[in-house]
Every structure is written in C-alpha cells, then in structure tokens.
Amino acid sequence: MGKGERPEHMAPPDIFYNEDEARKYTTNSRMINIQSTLTERALELLALPQDGLPRLLLDLGCGSGLSGEALSEAGQVWVGLDISAAMLDVAHEREVEGDLVLGDLGHGLPLRPGSFDGAISISAVQWLCNADRAGHDPRKRMKRFFETLYMSLRRGARAVLQIYPENHKQAEMLVAAAMKVGFSGGLVVDYPHSTRAKKYFLVLMVGTSISVPTAKGLDGGEPEDEEEEAAAEHVQVAGRDRNKRRRTGSGKGDGKGREWVLRKKEQMRKKGYDIAPDSKYTARKRKRVV
C-alpha cells in the first residue's frame, strides 16, 4: 500500500468505519474470504485443545462479524468488541452468534480476570499505533490494552492478533508492549518473502513460554490455494478500491478531508452518538509514533 492509502491515516476508526463503509466492507465477497481465511489461520495459531469442546473466545475489533462468523463455524463461542457503532450495527443486523460490545481497545478491556479461553483479533490492532485524538498516547493505550488482555485470559491461554503494521518497527513496538505486561511469544510472519502474501500474527501466551509457532512460506513460497491467494491480494485490492472512491468522492483527489470528517461527525452526533468535539486536531494528518 502506498503512502496515504491506509485507512489508519484517513480518520479515527469510529469515523472511518461509518455506515457506508461498514456495509461495503461486509458485502464484499472478497473481503469475506480474506477475513475468514485470516481467522482460520489465527485459530490454528491459537492451538486450542482438539477435543471438540467449544471455548469462550474474544474477538477484538470484531467489526461486522466476519471474523466472528468464522469462529462460530469452528464451533467456538465468542464475545466481540469494536469501537465502530456502525460496524456493530451491521453485525447485529446479520444476527451473528457472538455477543457484541462497543468499546475502545485503547481504554482497556472491561473484563474480569481469567474469564476467557483465548482471544483473536483480525486486522484491527495496528490502529492502536495512531494518536487519533488530542490527548491520545499510543504507548499508554497499548499498555492498557495489553495489560487488561493479559488479565482477562486464563492461564495457558493465547491471544493471536493479526495486524497490518505500517512498517516492521510498528510491529516490534506492539510486541514489546505485549512482552512488557508479561506475555510470552512473538511475531509469526507468514510468507515473509512475498510482498503480496506477507501476513503478521502476534502470537501471545499467558503463563507458558513455549516457542513461537512456525510461519508459513518461509522457503520463499507463495500461498497455493485460492483463498490464501485472496488474502494475498488484500493490500492491493484495498488500495485500488480506495483510490477509486477518492477520485469519485471529493473530486480533488485528496481523500476524505476535514470537511468530510466534520460532516460525518455531525451526522453521528445527530444520531445520538457521543462524538468528540471538533478541534484543530480534527482530521489532521495523523501522527504516528514510528
């Protein structure tokens, strides 16, 4: 993905994933394939006991429930948390099986200790690397997220977080934040030699320190089956789609600008959502830590 095309650079997640985006996202069959393939891989890395027993899992940044549906299909019970009310509304409409919670990962998880058998997160946690609002400190938000995640998991449980880091440094920053609160584990990078298929999974463990699972495609190979091929194209497809919308959208080719964000925020306010007041920071170019 080229500069300026990442959703994380355009607007905060609760603004970016508005009603339009939520619907488009959820009806895109390619997207559905990609997200379920990623979820299946995350489940594999979660390494739950193969005893046919449903486990209670968290889906962090569950969105409209594409990842959650893959969990249901695998026979798991889940609770999803997301910051976008619009995404959760779509999940609700689609009658996903998991319970849904509106929340910000950066606020920490509102969960009691030892309540979950595992956690997955698909394409969400890289958002924590941005300072989306005045007063946001990404490091503090990551710390809060990881410490409450650690607490909420049972001993021996894992969390597998698939991320789209902007660069390797961002990935390492997330790993470091996780290790600092007591997790063991690390980064699994599937197809590391392929720009298209490369996928990052943060594999975290509570209270055990077994070695990090082996990545796929270390020999320089590319994914073979069709669905993985779809996952491989994620980046390009996303880039292309967005370019198109940009051109047709503002007509100026400079993305969802400040005006667009202000308008969206006003719409959300009218619907009764609690939206941060507009300020000079609204829709500014997003600051990143690395």
């Binding site: 046919g52 027993l53 449903p54 486990r55 209670l56 019970v77 609770v79 948390l81 910051i83 009310a85 959760l88 509304d89 609700h92 319970d99 849904l100 919670v101 509106l102 929340g103 910000d104 950066g106 606020h107 920490g108 998880l109 509102p110 969960l111 009691r112 030892g114 309540s115 979950f116 007063g135 809060r144 409450t148 909420s152 609690d274």
Partner: protein
C-alpha cells in the same frame, strides 16, 4: 447481551476497585433459542460467578428454578442444565443499562450492545 457476557464484564474506569458485577437496569428483554450444549455448559460452569449470575437473572426475570448455591454435582442433573442454559444463553438484555456498583456510572445498552466507551477523564 447474554448473562454469560454480563458475568465476564467488569467496570474498567480508572481506579475503580469494586466494579463487579454490573447492576442491570432493564428496559427490554428478549429471548432467542440457542443450541443446548451440555459440554460447553460444563466447561464454563466453574468460571461463572454464581451470585453475579443470580443477580443478573433476577433483573432479567429468569431467576426462577436456579438454586441459591451451585455445586459441580448439579451438572449431572438435566433439569438444572436446561435452566442454567436458558438463563445463561437464551435471555437477552436488549435495552437498558449496566451500572457500575462502585461509581454508579451507567453504560447504556442499545440493540443488545453495551456501550463501554469511556470519557477521557475515566481512562
């Protein structure tokens, strides 16, 4: 929101010590059938905070038939499992609030989704 989820939620406002369990204010409750899976019920039972579960069930109107105290041995009783299953997974808080027992802060629940977003001064 199911009582299963209610049982796991705890108030995450900064410096709150006794944020569990949330009190439930009910505006609307609904029921949807869920697959009866004794294995899952047995798996999750030891983790359920029973007093919190009873309190939640009381609020949602499905407390009847649930024992004051629960013991592992009850899991052999099909009747108990059915009632446990029903209250845990089939009764939903659709509209209402979760109230932090320490601060009284209300987290609104709409369309079954609790809004747990904090204000800046709460995190």
């Amino acid at each position: 929101m199911k009582l299963l989820t209610h049982n796991m939620l705890s108030c995450h406002i900064k410096n709150v010590r006794n944020g569990y369990p949330f009190l439930i204010e009910v505006v609307k409750v609904s029921e949807h059938e869920a697959d009866f899976d004794p294995d899952f019920l047995k798996h999750i039972f030891p983790r359920i905070n029973w007093p919190a579960f009873l309190q939640g069930a009381q609020s949602l109107g499905c407390r009847e038939g649930l024992p004051e105290e629960a013991a592992e041995s009850m899991l052999e009783d099909e009747g108990f499992l059915k009632r446990f299953h029903h209250a845990l997974l089939e009764v939903f808080l659709e509209e209402g609030s979760l109230v932090c027992p320490e601060t009284g802060r209300k987290f609104p629940v709409t369309k079954g989704i609790p809004n747990m977003l904090l204000n800046e001064d709460e995190c």
